[in-house]
């Protein structure tokens, strides 16, 4: 039987700190574990893929001929040969893609930030850039096929591939230009205007140089991404196992295409070349990423 006094005493002195109940503690720890585990789960495939590449691709990449020869004249079962032809193809197509998409993308970025800000049309353009960044690479390839080959009558070529890569790279360049131009302090622009410098010269001489390192970093990252694209290659260019520097006519190899083509040879030597090409592609991408991070470290923008 409880007495009234005991009841009152209990109410009068509630513990200042209540212990967290077991259930709550357990749930909290469980959640922490699960979230950390999710991160670990994401790291596993990354390490696994890299390990696979090193394990199977290191031998060809370290061989003497790999960087200086092509696959020309190689029988399906022959070991040897090198990736030079595909490396050159990839770099040439990437170069053309950069030459077209970088000026265009920067101008779009300048329009969006310096001229169009908040206008109705700029908002439509921003939306279209978003859509472009979600464009499947195979659709980009099909569009170039419909336009460049079926309608304009050109042949399948490395240049057609570069055009498709432009579609994929353009949104990256626009995005990074926008971001970097927004970081450029308005005081810089105002100081320039105060000195009587016209707007276009202010943009070209003051704003762009300030933002340039960031833009270059973004360009490199975008390039690294599009160089690995395979889908447009399959429909826009034929594969050649010989060296070709001709972007406008005939077949041309590139690293992703080599990987895709060697897969179908189904020989041990084909596997050797395939994994070699895969590791080479990842090395190229890593190198470009490395240059990008060096660029951003060397010329980091100073906002204050």
């Amino acid at each position: 039987m409880r007495t009234d006094t005991a009841d009152v005493e209990q109410l009068a002195t509630p513990p200042a700190f209540q212990r967290i109940g077991f259930a709550r503690k357990f749930k909290n720890n469980l959640a922490t574990t699960l979230f950390a585990a999710a991160f670990v789960v994401a790291v596993i495939p990354l390490l696994w893929v890299l390990w696979t590449l090193l394990e199977r691709g290191l031998r060809p990449v370290l061989s003497a001929n790999w960087w200086t020869h092509s696959f020309r004249g190689l029988l399906p079962n022959d070991f040897g040969g090198g990736i030079y032809h595909a490396l050159m193809g990839t770099l040439l197509q990437g170069l053309v893609c950069v030459v077209i998409s970088v000026p265009l993308g920067i101008m779009v970025g300048i329009y969006l930030i310096e001229y169009g800000r908040e206008s109705r049309f700029a908002r439509i353009a921003t939306f279209m850039v978003d859509i472009l960044s979600g464009l499947p690479s195979i659709v980009a390839g099909l569009f170039i096929y419909a336009l460049w080959i079926t309608t304009l009558g050109f042949t399948r070529s490395g240049f057609a591939v570069a055009l498709a890569l432009v579609l994929l790279m353009l949104p990256v360049v626009v995005r990074v230009t926008e971001t970097m131009l927004l970081i450029v302090p308005d005081e810089l622009r105002e100081a320039s205007y105060a000195l009587g410098v016209p707007k276009w010269k202010t943009i070209l001489r003051i704003v762009l140089p300030t933002a340039l390192s960031g833009i270059l970093t973004g360009v490199m990252l975008g390039l690294a991404r599009v160089l690995g694209e395979t889908a447009p290659l399959l429909i826009l260019v034929g594969y050649s196992n010989a060296i070709s520097f001709n972007l406008f006519d005939g077949e041309m190899a590139s690293l992703p295409l080599v990987i895709y083509m060697e897969r179908s040879t189904a020989t041990v030597a084909g596997d050797y070349r395939m994994w070699g090409a895969a590791l080479t592609l990842v090395l190229v991408i890593m190198l470009i990423n490395l240059v990008a991070s060096l660029l951003s470290k060397l010329f980091a923008i100073k906002t204050k």
Binding site: I20, N28, A31, T32, L34, F35, A36, A38, F39, A42, L46, W48, V49, T52, L53, L104, M107, V108, Y111, L112, E114, Y115, G116, E118, F121, A125, F127, M128, D130, G134, L135, P136, S137, I138, V139, F143, Y145, A146, T151, L167, D186, R189, Y193, P198, K199, W200, R225, G228, E229, T230, A231, I235, P256, I259, Y260, M274, A278, L281, V282, I285
Partner: protein, 319 residues
């Protein structure tokens, strides 16, 4: 806050005119580009659709070898495309959400950035390499899992026997897991962004009321970022729907019609086009593939548009 307008001055500046015209034209070019993609695909698809012998949307046929007798339909392509993307989303969504919460709420300050960079690295691996890895390395490892699912849960239609041998590894199940890895960085990136914008005052409020860290996440961080997370998942879905080469490599093994199971193989919209490149000799034949490409374009356009819309409405009016 736009930059001060200097054009009000009396001096006529030809340079300004030219430069602003070029910039505006570039902006217009991007808009025109999207329109051009739709229009050119449509122009090239219509002639083939006109001579198509079967219903384009609901037929299971795909006979394009003879240009004078085309019959092609997309229902099977749609199934494989949607099934692999759904499997990818089911796997990637909870993991991405967990990673984003871990990176924004749990990871030590100094490590959050490098950890995020590691997840972003997943996006740097080209899809052709994911395809090879999925087919040659992951597929064989997953075989026992696939067989177990098939044997124990086979009474559920989606785990029933597919058109490819369950133990081959070349099925939607493997493809979905590979796709999940590929879209993880997309979903994580967007989610991380919105979760990190949770107002500190909400978190502090919850903590002051005695909430545990999990309760803080459940009651403030997640509700605040929910829309952004869903938007990011839709972006991931858009990416998964359009992925080509990895799925071409993993799924191209079977040509039999699918059984609407996750152990089916076959072709998605994108991989059908990639596999069909050998038939690109005649405008009508190409037109059949372009029709499939047009459907893919329309679907990804819609998914991406909705994703951006959801993402933009996220967290507004709550801060």
């Amino acid at each position: 806050m736009s930059a001060p307008d200097t054009s009000a001055g009396k001096t006529f500046r030809i340079g300004d005119r030219v430069f602003s015209s070029v910039a505006t034209a570039s902006g217009a070019f991007v808009v025109a580009l999207i329109a051009a993609i739709g229009i050119f695909l449509l122009i090239r698809a219509v002639p083939a659709l006109q001579v198509n012998q079967v219903n384009f949307l609901f037929s299971r046929a795909w006979n394009t070898a003879n240009p004078s007798d085309l019959s092609f339909g997309i229902i099977d392509l749609a199934w494989i495309t949607v099934a692999s993307s759904i499997v990818a989303l089911v796997i990637a969504m909870p993991i991405s959400c967990g990673i984003a919460l871990f990176l924004t709420q749990y990871a030590p300050r100094g490590l959050a950035r490098p950890f995020a960079y590691i997840v972003d690295l997943l996006a740097a691996v080209p899809s052709v390499i994911y395809g090879l890895w999925g087919y040659l390395v992951l597929g064989p490892v997953l075989k026992p899992v696939a067989v177990w699912l098939n044997q124990n849960l086979g009474w559920i239609p989606i785990f029933a026997d597919g058109n490819a041998p369950t133990n081959s590894g070349a099925n939607v199940f493997t493809a979905g897991i590979v796709l999940a890895v590929m879209i993880l960085p997309t979903i994580t990136g967007v989610s991380r962004e919105v979760f990190s914008r949770t107002p500190t005052i909400h978190i502090e409020g919850a903590l002051a009321l005695g909430a545990t860290q999990w309760e803080v996440v459940r009651t403030t961080v997640f509700p605040f970022g929910r829309n952004g997370f869903i938007g990011g998942s839709m972006l991931g879905l858009g990416r998964a729907l359009g992925e080509t080469v990895a799925l071409t490599i993993i799924l191209s093994m079977s040509t039999a019609p699918p059984n609407y199971s996750i152990f089916d193989a076959g072709a998605t919209f994108a991989s059908k086009i990639a596999l069909g490149s050998g038939e690109f000799n005649n405008n009508l034949q190409v037109g059949a593939y372009i029709s499939a490409g047009l459907v893919l374009f329309i679907i990804t356009f819609a998914v991406n548009a909705i994703a951006r819309w959801i993402e933009n409405t996220s967290g507004k009016g709550k801060a």
